[in-house]
Amino acid sequence: MQQKSRIQSKTVVIAASNIDTDQLMPARFLTTTTRHGLGQHLFADWRYDANGQPIASFALNDPASKGAKILVAGPNIGCGSSREHAPWGLLDYGFEAVVSSQIADIFKNNCLKNGLLPVVVDEATHQTLLHSPGAEVVIDVAHRTLSIVGGPSTTFALEPFAQYCLLNGIDEAGYLLSKADAIRAYEQRMGL
């Protein structure tokens, strides 16, 4: 996993509430057996029309959004299916952080496992961000702060172990594997 301590970028805003993972990555793209190349299918049914042409009014098709690394979404993004193809698609597209007032549990976990930062902000900050697409934002992982450049700043919650993994560019697998003795002891106790 890539080390991540600071993200600075303009934002893209997709204000819809309850953006489910079927929207982020429709099921017909889940037959892949790798993690790669899913960025082209991100938001496929909102991004392209029936003929595969970009829908101009959709935020990701706005030329001004090109290069943005921070996605600001309406409340409860990532609800529904556990498909990790959703964060894989977001990362492959170029996003490094997803910001909302509420982020669904499994999706949030999946983001953290891949170094895509889920940022849950307070209602007021969320409203400000939703109403200022393209705003320049700085996210500091070490201090857990999100600052709108030239505007307000806020702190956000980040599970300490996930934060440690992000700051050091390591994944959880190594830590779990280092607990082999404790796992063996548990299995013996349970007769496994």
Binding site: D20, D22, T31, S81, E159, F161, Y175, L177
Partner: protein, 466 residues
């Protein structure tokens, strides 16, 4: 000190390493269910790191999501419609063979939807921790197991260590008093609960369902309720095991036998929330006030009783977009709404009792002209049991299609899809945009209401006609 909730009892008995402020708990997983869609990259992780599987006998594999429901395609007499799906199925078979994971291959007489076969085979048991790379793993909570969906990275963690790193979730009690009225089903109950607490209402929580109405539910019905806990955003749904649970499990293939059975039941009988246990949040529901439900929008919270009108939310652009997608207007009544497709199946409502409920309707009347009906059993066992009762003949005589087991039109991965702008009454769990095919309009309902819509070609209130 207050007592413990059912969740806390299961959690405590699976902590390999307790959580600290800086590290999550290491939680032991008793049963890992796997399927072809969310595992290929996890097996790749094992290969890349040169890791063995820690406990291959605690993982079970089945093929369900991308598998065809037409027998010729499923059994390889003709190629699958989607070559990429075929490759994914073949890759999973190869992965299971290489890592010694027991697999219910396409030919296996017990293959089926992962959340139907776990209980059916007696793999799902009270007090277990159960995970699967699938959000509807919450289904298994109906047995008093702590069961939740995980992503593919976590699937890899379980394959390699049989453990997960987890922070302890919050607890929510949903107390369902009274009992359900005639023609009101477990599906209506859970849709009503989701409407009340909201699609994100259970986020961060494990829900325990309790109360008279829950006690009176069969295991199939409890599974329908727990299955859709994720549609309220919950990590898991739980129902304390009782005699109904034990009777279901007795003599199942993987259930304990003889003295081990007696010991297991004695252990399972201690799995309940103590009288003085404290929940982070409690919601009380009056079961007798619930009516047959139908969704009208693009998430499972957007539902009404069948005799209610679609609400009006002036100035709510997202709500209006959702209605526009569905082809509905605020204030509209749904009774009499024409429909073109009906799907009966899925891990929510694809068990034998669901098929029996649908067949009871198809016995009286044939499928209406212009309506396509797919009946897809949740497993090969459900299929055989239905055929032994002659239900297949009822469906076919009525003009419905009787298919092979699988997830099918619930998510349309396997080619079973609904065309754009057409309405489908579905017994599945999600009415998200495009869930059943690009542009498809899904209305979630019980098997009874879906079957009634099939034979009338329009939505009906079961209370008026049954």
């Amino acid at each position: 000190m207050s007592g413990l909730t059912l969740f806390e009892k299961i959690w405590a008995s699976h902590e390999v390493v307790a959580e600290t402020p800086s590290t999550p708990a290491v939680l032991y997983i008793d049963l890992h269910l796997t399927h072809e869609v969310t595992t290929p990259q996890a097996f790749t992780f094992l290969r890349e790191r040169g890791l063995p599987m820690r406990q291959p006998q605690l993982t079970f594999g089945t093929l369900d999501h991308s598998t065809p429901t037409l027998a010729d395609e499923l059994y390889g007499r003709v190629p699958m419609k989607h070559p990429q799906a075929q490759r994914q199925v073949e890759q999973f078979v190869k992965n299971c063979a290489e890592f010694n994971v027991p697999l219910l291959d396409v030919q296996h007489p017990n293959r089926g939807i992962v959340h139907v076969i776990g209980p059916e085979l007696g793999l799902t048991q009270p007090g277990k921790t159960i995970v699967c790379g699938d959000s509807h793993t919450s289904t298994h909570g109906a047995f008093g197991a702590l069961a939740f969906g995980i992503g593919t990275t976590e699937v890899g963690h379980v394959l390699a260590t049989q453990c997960l790193l987890q922070r302890k979730p919050k607890t929510m009690l949903i107390q369902v008093d009274g009992h359900l009225q005639p023609h009101v089903t477990a599906k209506d109950l859970i849709l009503a609960i989701i409407r009340q607490i909201g699609i994100g209402g259970g986020t961060g929580s494990v829900i325990e369902y309790r109360g008279e109405a829950i006690r009176r539910l069969t295991m199939d019905e409890r599974m329908t309720v727990c299955n859709m806990s994720i549609e309220a955003g919950a990590r898991a749904g739980l129902i304390a095991p009782d005699d109904c649970t034990f009777a279901y499990l007795k003599d199942r293939e993987h259930a304990p036998r003889g003295a081990a059975w007696d010991a297991a039941v004695a252990r399972w009988q201690r799995l309940y929330s103590d009288e003085d246990a404290v929940f982070d949040r409690t919601v009380t529901i009056d079961a007798s006030a619930i009516e047959p439900m139908i969704t009208y929008g693009t998430n499972p919270e957007m539902s009404v009783a069948i005799n209610e009108r679609i609400p009006t939310k002036t100035g709510d652009a997202i709500f209006e977009q959702s209605l526009a997608y569905m082809g509905f207007k605020p204030g509209q009544s749904l009774i009499g709404q024409p429909i073109q497709h009906v799907f009966i199946g899925s891990c929510t409502n694809g068990r034998l009792s669901d098929l029996e409920a649908a067949a009871a309707v198809f016995k009286t009347k044939s499928v209406a002209k212009g309506v396509t009906v797919l009946v897809v059993p949740g497993s090969a066992q459900v299929k055989r049991a239905a055929e032994a009762l002659g239900l297949d003949a009822v469906f076919k005589a009525a003009g419905a299609q009787w298919r092979e087991a699988g997830c099918s039109m619930c998510l349309g991965m396997n080619g079973d899809t609904v065309p754009a702008q057409q309405w489908c009454v579905s017994t599945s769990n999600r009415n998200f945009e495009g869930r059943q095919g690009k542009g498809a309009r899904t209305l979630l309902a019980s098997p009874t209401m879906a079957a009634l819509a099939a034979v009338h070609g329009q939505l009906m209130d079961p209370r008026g006609v049954l």
